[in-house]
């Protein structure tokens, strides 16, 4: 029964949209109020369930985009052209509307501020969402863990959280790979991520960083292979693949 949390069980809760941020023309951050939210770790995701008037239901998983603030959680949804759920969440859901949500889910692709290892984040497209949750968790915890983010994106206009990531932040280095269109005067032509990008934007393997790679399957396969080839211990390379 929705709204009745049973300990030890992930129950469906009713979440209400209380705020929304247009990140790009096709991506929106939903700020959802979820009474009794138990908190979560950076990198975890939630399941969202929609029910149509005729009872038809659809569920999808979305990464949490930020640490919880009390009962408020954030997810960022990238609209998929042939999507069933994402177009509704990006353009249909209005402030005050309810959705059902359960979580947090996933205990592997997570970063804890108590881990002192340097962190390498490698994002492809909307794969940046759980990785920015880690950046935000670092900031909120006030720790100095060195972070590097390599963010591959089609064009400058497709960058999520662009203003926030443009602000200098001690201990966080960000490098971009543009696959279709670069900014004016960008030193490299558009290209898919390769060994030099991961090598120069990341940490040497002997620093034993915790690596988190998230994006579409082909991207994650390639980056994970590059990291292993560069000498990173496969056990320190955690991956999250968005389908397809």
């Amino acid at each position: 029964m929705a709204g009745t949390a049973v300990p030890g069980r992930l129950t469906w809760r009713v979440a209400t949209l209380v705020d929304a941020v247009e990140e790009t023309p096709t991506a929106r951050t939903l700020v959802l109020e979820v009474p009794g939210w138990p908190g979560h770790l950076a990198g975890q995701h939630v399941d969202v369930r929609l029910t149509a008037e005729d009872g038809y239901r659809a569920q999808r998983s979305y990464s949490l985009a930020a640490p919880a603030k009390g009962d408020l959680v954030r997810i960022t949804v990238q609209e998929l052209a042939d999507g069933e759920v994402s177009p509704y969440l990006v353009r249909g859901l209005s402030i005050g509307d309810p959705v059902e949500l359960r979580g947090p889910v996933g205990g592997w692709f997570v970063w804890r501020p108590t881990d002192p290892s340097p962190v390498l984040l490698v994002a492809g497209g909307s794969g940046v969402v759980p990785l920015v949750a880690m950046v935000r968790a670092r900031r909120e915890a006030g720790v100095r863990t060195p972070f590097r983010l390599v963010y591959s994106v089609r064009s400058p206009g497709d960058r999520l959280y662009a203003d926030e990531l443009n602000r200098p932040e001690p201990g966080l280095d960000i490098s971009y790979v543009y696959t279709r269109t670069t900014p004016e005067g960008w030193p490299a032509p558009p290209h898919r991520i390769g060994v030099p990008d991961v090598n120069s934007g990341g940490w040497p393997a002997e620093f034993e960083p915790a690596c988190f790679v998230c994006g579409p399957t082909g991207f994650v396969e390639k980056v994970a292979d590059i990291l292993v080839a560069l000498g990173h211990d496969p056990r320190r390379v955690r991956t999250e693949r968005f389908g397809g």
């Binding site: 929609l50 029910t51 008037e53």
Partner: protein, 198 residues
């Protein structure tokens, strides 16, 4: 029925019945926790170890010599995609376990790369599980678990461990990788056993 999302219509239901919460996909998403291990065939080996430590092992050549079966089946991933009518070729676990003397009720499956998953031994028997090495007429690619993956289509697909290297038979159940990270012990898609307590 839960709360209704105003203005959400969804897609027309597919003509086939899917487990609850699943949607149909035509492609074959890849999900795994880390980099894809690449296992050279001359070093590949599969072992079954009983609760008393007795080991049964097959090299690639020996595995290839075992009778293989063609399997057409639907598969269901806990991340909510289902794929219908997939075609596999592999060796039935009934064949691999036929000479194994065990009193164990549980199996822990081990993969190259360190992944593990657990399931009741009976779920591997009676024509319900295979070691698959071909998919849609081709050798199984590394990202889908090649050279050999477990195929247990009646459970969520995380039980169908990729890059499988061995099965350990145990008297007491031992949760595997995802099972210790909040996922369900058993994982029946038709009962929607996704997470602990479902």
């Amino acid at each position: 029925m839960g709360i209704v999302s105003p203005g959400f219509h969804g897609r027309r239901r597919p003509a086939v019945e899917l487990p609850p919460g699943q949607y149909l996909t035509e492609d074959f998403p890849v999900l795994s926790a880390g980099p894809t291990p690449r296992v050279p065939l001359d070093r590949w080996r599969f072992t079954v170890t009983t609760e008393t430590g007795e080991e049964h092992g097959w090299s690639w050549r020996e595995f290839q010599a075992l009778p293989a079966e063609s399997v057409t089946t639907d598969i269901h991933c806990v991340t909510k995609w289902s794929k219908l009518g997939t075609h596999w070729r592999g060796v039935s676990l009934d064949t691999l376990l036929s000479d194994v003397d065990t009193a164990a009720d549980f199996a822990v499956v081990h993969s190259y790369g360190g992944y593990t998953t657990n399931l009741p031994l009976e779920d591997l028997l009676d024509g319900r599980a295979w070691l698959a090495h071909r998919y849609e007429g081709e050798d199984l690619t590394p990202e889908h678990g090649g050279p050999v993956r477990l195929l247990v289509p009646h459970l969520y697909f995380w039980k169908s461990a990729k890059w499988v290297r061995g099965i350990r038979l145990v008297l007491e159940d031992e949760p595997g990788f995802w099972e210790t990270l909040g996922y369900h012990e058993y994982g029946d898609p038709w009962r929607e056993q996704r997470y602990q307590g479902d």
